[in-house]
């Protein structure tokens, strides 16, 4: 039987039959992979614990007829332990996992998306930054990799140099006064600065931001994400913003 090896972050698991689970992972070299982990709900081996959401693992799989079968798992980053102990981390993290599954196709490798998610989950678990900032930064960067990079400086429509005071989700970010469609948002300048920092990964600026600007930024990131992802993100309304 053909086997292969890869590393991945577990996105989701669900029950299969009496004691098995189907595990959905974002892998480094094979995109999203859905595989069967046999007996993990019943056994007392460490196997099941390693295949929980947020875990970064190295795994070996057998190619199956429909789904591949997990045969070996080694832990790379046991991020779930810290994340489940903090409700804000957990709710932010689940949106990252759901988004990753939406943006990457099965068997279509995206090294950039894999690196972004693995790094994001690691940072979240380490408590390096506020969970909602990690989430918003992840969403902006994941959408940018997918080809929907928002603009926070020049006008998203005509390219006029910024900063601009209006933000239009459907046009791709900041817009100048001439391009501003009716109903565009008018975020505070600090909010636009924060959004640009989150997209660029400028954590010094992001960590120093104020609560009200974080909230405004989160609202715009959520609207921007929902616009580009066809179906609603089910986990997004459950995010706890503290």
């Amino acid at each position: 039987m053909r086997t292969y090896r890869d590393e991945g972050v577990v996105l989701r698991t669900h029950k299969l039959g009496e004691a098995d689970r189907i595990v959905t992972l974002l892998t480094r070299e094979h995109g999203v992979v859905r595989a069967v982990a046999k007996g993990v709900r019943r056994t007392s081996s460490k196997f099941g614990a390693r295949l929980e959401p947020f875990m970064h693992v190295d795994l070996q799989l057998h190619v199956g007829r429909n789904l591949d079968i997990v045969t070996q798992v080694e832990m790379i980053g046991p991020y779930a332990r810290a994340i489940v102990a903090d409700y804000a981390m957990y709710t932010s993290g689940t949106v990252m996992l759901e988004t990753a599954e939406r943006l990457v196709d099965e068997r279509e490798a995206s090294l950039q998306q894999f690196r972004l998610l693995a790094g994001g989950v690691r940072s979240l678990a380490a408590g390096e930054h506020a969970p909602s900032l990690v989430l918003d930064s992840y969403l902006l960067r994941a959408l940018a990799i997918a080809g929907w990079a928002p603009s926070f400086s020049e006008c998203a429509r005509c390219g006029a140099p910024g900063p601009h005071h209006s933000f239009a989700v459907a046009l791709g970010g900041s817009v100048c006064l001439r391009c501003r469609p009716p109903g565009a948002a008018s975020p505070a300048p600090e909010t636009v600065t924060l959004l640009a920092a989150l997209l660029a990964g400028d954590w010094e600026v992001a960590d120093a931001s104020q609560e009200r600007h974080r909230r405004e930024a989160s609202g715009l990131v959520a609207a921007y994400s929902q616009f580009h992802l066809e179906r609603r993100l089910r986990s997004l309304p459950h995010v706890e913003r503290v």
């Binding site: 698991t13 056994t43 099941g48 929980e52 489940v84 102990a85 689940t94 309304p237």
Partner: protein, 199 residues
């Protein structure tokens, strides 16, 4: 594909948890060949369960009346509530004979990707049971997986500031597993060794 009624039966059986297309087919043909009385007993049991069994108004466990057997038992302690995800977890814990308090069945675990948040679980009902001071300890016995742990985290944060002793089953349970599959000895030990969660 089979003729109408047979295929309908196979389709319905195939919707049951843990029943794949092959098993559904096998069960359907078993029923076709079975004695009519045997089939009638199964039909009656199914109708009965939908008509008579409901959820306990206090704790959410399965019940024949307004309250379940555990809530009605006067010999059990009112000072301790054990919080579980599903009624089948009550059965698993009862098998250990370690616990003599009451239960509270949440009806699942917080799982945002599946669209399940705190408001979708029986958490308000739990909070109202803790108002009068009778309950002094809450044992969080949600499944030892990511969703169960996150649910315990959420509940502990609500309950600890109320001055109630909150404890979580000891490790040793198979992580990533289902509570219902833990054997009695392991689950009993996890109960005895439960650790207190502080703020």
């Amino acid at each position: 594909m089979y003729e109408g009624a047979v295929q309908d039966l196979i389709d319905e059986l195939g919707r049951l948890p843990g029943v794949g297309p092959k098993s559904a087919q096998r069960i359907a043909f078993h029923l076709l060949a079975a004695d009519p009385d045997e089939v009638k007993r199964l039909v009656d049991a199914l109708t009965e369960v939908k008509n008579k069994v409901r959820f306990c108004e206090r704790c959410g466990n399965v019940a024949q009346d307004e309250l379940c057997r555990v809530c009605l038992d006067p010999r059990r302690s009112d000072a301790t509530i054990c919080v579980v995800e599903e009624p089948k977890d009550v059965v698993a814990i009862e098998r250990t004979r370690e616990f003599r308090g009451r239960y509270h069945v949440l009806g699942g675990a917080i799982n945002p990707i599946a669209g399940v948040g705190p408001d979708d679980l029986r958490i308000a009902g739990l909070m109202s049971r803790l108002q009068d001071g009778t309950v002094t300890e809450v044992i969080l016995a949600t499944d030892p997986n990511v969703e169960g742990e996150a649910t315990a985290t959420y509940l502990a944060r609500l309950l600890v500031p109320m001055g109630i002793t909150v404890s979580r089953l000891a490790s040793g349970l198979p992580v990533g597993g289902d509570l219902e599959y833990a054997d009695e000895v392991t689950l009993g030990r996890a109960f005895e060794g439960r650790r207190r969660i502080s703020a």
